[in-house]
Amino acid sequence: MGRFLIRRLLHMFAVLVAVLIIVSLLLRLIPGDPVDAMMSGNPGMTQENMDAVRQQLGLTDPVYVQVLSYSRDLARGDMGDSLRFRTPVFPLIMEKLPATIELTVFAMLMAILIAVPLGLLTALKRDRPADYVGSIVAVIGISIPSFLLGILLIMALAVKWRIFPAAGYGGSMTGAIRELVTTGDPSALRESLRYLFLPGITLGVASAAYNARMVRSAMIEVLGQDYIRSAEAKGLARRTVIVRHALRNALIPVITILGLRIGYLLSGAFVVENVFAWPGIGRFSVQALSWRDYPTIQGIVMITALIFLTINLLVDVLYALIDPRIRLA
């Protein structure tokens, strides 16, 4: 296990370095630089002004010099300054990241809460009407683009019935929970959840549908095994057999897939945030890209890559812990 971890961490480091180099080079290939982007907001800027700003920001150096000096700073734990805000990138990203994580975690919880019962139901009622209805719902859930589902939900629940706000952010969830615990006042949490609900559902539905199908096929597979028949033959209650024997085994492959789905949820969050004006890194990166704010985009890519790689590693480790047949090498 120790050697496995060391090898994987070294590997992660190599991948991050490669990601940094490729993304930095790609960004420099984008037509127009940060100063052009600033210029479009300040028509009064002269050519001399622009050249001076370029000089000041180090944009006149050759690309490899820029990338090298960025890497040197990064090695010291400094992600550089945003070219747009002239403030350090790292706090800027950290300010936006919690909103994205809240959205992703909420979507994931929704996905599990919908997927497990739906998958179980369709597996147990296989080839009966409940299964058909459930399967149709699942196919539709997988087939709706998230931005479209978001629009439809806004149309129905925000514009027509005005149950939820159409867009925006209701304050930090962690702050709201802290307030609930310390002062016992649930109003901040309620407000935060009211804003989180529509984007969270929008992001979670596709994963819920996908996971429901995984749970269904895993359950069907497990229910056909000999040990289930033995458990039933022993005279155990059907409920016990299903929950204790079947579901537990069926969830093993589902957990792996769930880990991999986090990547999808994060990617999906980039789109959903733009639909709901959610102030997370997804929306921020679309803006940063239009500003050509190289250090900010590099920072976002590095941090999301780090999150991706860490999750994948955790899934592999978890998987080995859950299933003793798997050995990490």
Partner: protein
């Protein structure tokens, strides 16, 4: 990706490539008997039909604007309307735009899936068959690709290339080839050691012949299923990018762009959003149903269930 559980052996060991004639006929026969497969085929067929016949069927030019027709109501609300599904903020006919929009969606779907499946499969087969340095190189590229959220990568690539049909096609292909590379590499590692491949090598066939004649045909089914399900994903992804303003640009009518415009007029002219939404959903549901059915049809272990 949707194809995680697909990496199963599909053809009996040693049976060689399936004979296509009887295979296709058997498949068509099974399709007719499966409600799921038929529904999918009909929906996809309708979308293809819309794309092909758009110039003939469309009552208006999809880019024709008219001040008079701004926000014209659909026929079922206003009997005298000359716009079957209403008109948009520039007075363009929604129905005609949906028909033409099918062209962009399906073209991107087919093109990207085809190129990604081909390139990914070739690279995966090379990695699995050759091993060593080639394998390391290709698989590290896969790792790299998988460590960046695909939408972020697509956004950066689109910023470099500028928005447009071909840029979207390239960005999406770059995001998708890894799935095939991983699937095919895994299968190749498995099949490479099978007796019939070892004997093909023993009688002196060269690597290229072994790969193209003996190894790849045996995973065509898995690739085909993954490709079908991927095409659904590509259409969704293209619409999302266009929705974000990074994809195919106007005046080309696309479903993604219609949706992003319709969003601004949800309350007054919901038809601007609802009908293109239905077009996207029905097409993608159709492709997914077809892919599901193909998976079941190809998987002998599911046949008698």
């Amino acid at each position: 990706m949707s194809g995680v559980a697909l990496a199963q052996p599909v053809v009996e060991v040693g049976s060689g490539p399936p004979s296509s004639r009887t295979g296709v006929r058997r498949l068509a026969h099974e399709l007719l008997r499966s409600p799921k497969g038929m529904t999918g085929a009909i929906l996809v067929g309708l979308a293809i039909l819309a794309a092909i016949t758009a110039p003939v069927v469309a009552p208006h030019d999809p880019t024709d604007t008219s001040v008079r027709a701004k926000f014209a109501e659909p026929v079922f609300i206003d009997r005298s309307s000359e716009f079957p599904l209403g008109a948009d903020n520039l007075g363009r006919d929604t129905f005609s735009r949906i028909l033409y929009g099918a062209r962009a969606s399906l073209a991107i779907g087919f093109l990207v899936t085809l190129v990604a499946a081909f390139a990914g499969s070739v690279l995966g087969a090379l990695a699995g068959y050759r091993g060593g340095f080639v394998d390391t190189l290709i698989m590290r590229a896969v790792d790299l690709q998988l460590s960046i959220p695909f939408i972020l990568l697509a956004m950066i690539v689109l910023a470099v290339l500028g928005p447009g049909f071909w840029s979207v096609a390239i960005a999406l292909t770059l995001a998708l080839w890894v799935n095939y590379a991983r699937l095919v590499r895994g299968e190749t590692l498995r099949i490479r050691e099978m007796e019939y491949v070892v004997s093909a090598r023993a009688i002196g066939l060269d690597d290229r012949r072994i790969l193209t004649r003996h190894i790849l045909p045996n995973m065509l089914h898995s690739i085909l299923v993954l490709a079908t399900l991927d095409m659904a994903f590509v259409i969704i992804f293209e619409a999302s990018l266009t929705f974000l303003g990074l994809g195919i640009q106007p005046p080309t009518p696309t479903w993604g762009f219609m949706l992003s415009e319709g969003r601004n007029y949800l309350a007054e002219s919901p038809w601007m959003t609802l009908f293109p939404a239905m077009a996207v959903i029905l097409t993608v549901v159709g492709i997914n149903l077809l892919g599901d059915w193909l998976r079941d049809a190809f998987d002998p272990s599911l046949r008698n269930r």
